[in-house]
């Protein structure tokens, strides 16, 4: 038996995977890792992750091996070290496999110039899926663990580490992007030419009120010439809705399943992961595509 315990929490610590699909018509959001590029990369080092990744924002957790041994790998730009069971401390790097033995503790301090980081554990965290996914939606209370992780949460990993060999890949060191490709939204015609012009030519600042549900933007108000209240319709991650205050919200992974605000544009699918890594205060612009 191998077991792992959360010995110090990070912020917004949840279990995530690539998303929970086929349930949105019952009001269940897709959820899933905010930056899916990273968990795809971790797959190369820990192929037996069983779709059970730990996500954190800004501050990572400390995880300690209680029993046996485990193999883990961290993804994202993080500062971290290992407190070995013999008292020594080792600095370690993301995207390199780490073998941890009973008493060893991995401390992930913070993400550098980014938001989200991930931990993959070989053989997963011993969880059962909930509606065919391991993702957590804390607002809806859905998930294998339907809340953020907390200190003393313990994971039992039945299988033993497959090999002690060290695996690593180069840190993908994603370029920070600030100009995002968007496609016309279904209510684009609600907005005047002038409002559209400010949407594509002005700079928006990411607000601190952003979370897994949506990234709130601050900037020149984008006003609709019609109502800011429409009959609710299906929405997807990347939908950019504009409530009556004219400040757009880019809906992210824990979306409400239907929404009643007009959507001016839809973010390019690939860019959802990229925008999730921009800390509050970051400035962004939109590049509206005409062909889609």
């Amino acid at each position: 038996m191998n077991s792992l315990v959360i010995s110090r929490t990070g912020t917004h610590l949840t279990v995530q995977d690539f998303g929970r699909f086929h349930y949105q018509h019952l009001g269940v959001s897709p959820s899933g890792a905010m930056d899916q590029r990273i968990i795809k990369e971790l797959e190369k080092i820990i192929p037996l992750h069983h779709n059970q990744f730990i996500e954190f924002a800004y501050v990572g957790p400390s995880i300690k091996v209680k029993e046996g041994s485990v193999k883990v790998c961290v993804g994202g730009n993080c500062n971290m070290n290992i407190q070995k069971n013999n008292g020594t401390q080792i600095i370690c790097q993301p995207y390199k496999s780490i073998n941890l033995f009973a008493g060893d503790e991995l401390n992930i301090h913070n993400t550098i110039d980014s938001v989200y980081g991930y931990i993959a554990v070989e053989h997963g965290l011993g969880l059962d899926p909930c509606l065919k996914s391991f993702s957590t939606d804390t607002k809806a209370g859905i998930g294998s663990i339907n809340r953020p992780l907390k200190v003393d949460d313990t994971f039992e990993i039945l299988e033993d580490v497959s090999s002690w060999d060290h695996l690593s890949i180069p840190n993908p060191a994603y370029k920070k992007e600030t100009n995002f490709k968007v496609y016309p939204g279904p209510q684009l015609q609600f907005f005047t030419d002038q409002a559209l012009q400010s949407f594509i030519s002005s700079t928006f600042t990411i607000s601190a009120q952003s979370d897994r549900m949506g990234i709130r933007l601050k900037g020149e108000a984008i006003l609709s010439s019609q109502s800011h209240d429409i009959l609710s319709e299906g929405i997807l991650p990347g939908s950019i809705q504009v409530p009556s205050d004219g400040q757009p919200i880019v809906l992210m992974r824990d979306i409400p399943c239907t929404g009643g605000y007009p959507k001016i544009a839809i973010l390019n699918g690939e860019d959802i992961s990229k925008i999730s890594q921009l800390p509050p205060g970051s400035q962004i612009t939109f590049d509206l595509q005409t062909i889609y």
Partner: protein
């Protein structure tokens, strides 16, 4: 036919447009299209019906574009297709006691009607399930009697008790679990309508018919104690 056409929704989605209005006959067509497309076995990630739209999400634009023709074809002759309805008819016990009906007084004052009249009006209609949204398992039911039509609360409640029955505009609903919300609360049902342990977690599905019957607080408590599972509820309260 209300169907207007298919538009792209970003690079991975499509939006089936059934116009700008909302009515039961539009919704019947939407839900028929929803169940037809759901049963095609297409490689889609999510299909979301609402009052007058269906949004479908695919893994990427290639898969979306490959499936557009097939969906267009199916929808264009949907009127002529015979479909055996898989929908259920529900008769749901509801307690309209003051302890549950947080906004009963407000509605009485607004419409100048008695508590009994409100209960009679709410229990006399068979409602149609337009779709499930807002939160897991939350049914948008309608239409309520014109005498009950009430705007949303000016200030939404921070915490609406789980299983509360609400009304707003011409719709009625049930809150599956504790939630913030702006519907006027007129009663409560004695069991959960969303169960994560069940592979079919939602009691109600788009297109279901739902009516309520009034029970006393004592009967309410008796049913509540039974902790019915979704499968038991289907046996007990649907046909």
């Amino acid at each position: 036919m209300y169907f207007k056409g298919i538009n792209s929704y970003g690079d991975r989605g499509m939006l089936l447009d059934f116009g700008d209005d909302s009515s039961k006959s539009i919704s019947l067509e939407v839900n028929k299209a929803f169940s037809t497309i759901s049963n095609l076995g297409l490689p889609l990630l999510n299909i979301i019906p609402s009052f007058n739209k269906i949004v479908i999400i695919f893994e990427n634009s290639e898969i979306r574009d490959q499936n557009k023709e097939k969906i267009t074809l199916e929808i264009s002759d949907i009127k002529s297709q015979f479909q055996k309805s898989a929908n259920k008819t529900w008769k749901i016990p509801a307690c309209y006691d003051e302890s549950f009906a947080l906004d009963l007084k407000l509605i009485q004052q607004l419409h100048q009607i008695t508590k009994e009249e409100i209960i009679n009006l709410h229990t006399s209609e068979s409602y149609y399930t337009y779709y499930i949204g807002f939160m897991p398992g939350f049914p948008y039911l309608g239409d309520i009697h014109s005498q009950l039509i009430t705007p949303r609360l000016a200030t939404p409640r921070i915490k609406i008790p789980a299983r509360s029955i609400g009304i707003a505009k011409n719709h009625t609903c049930i809150y599956p679990k504790i939630s913030p919300g702006g519907w006027n609360i007129i009663g409560q049902i004695p069991f959960d309508i969303f169960d994560l342990q069940n592979p079919n977690p939602s009691l109600f599905l788009p297109g279901d018919k739902v009516s309520f019957y009034s029970v006393s607080n004592k009967e309410f408590q008796q049913v509540q104690k039974k902790h019915f599972s979704i499968n038991e509820l289907i046996k007990e309260y649907s046909s």
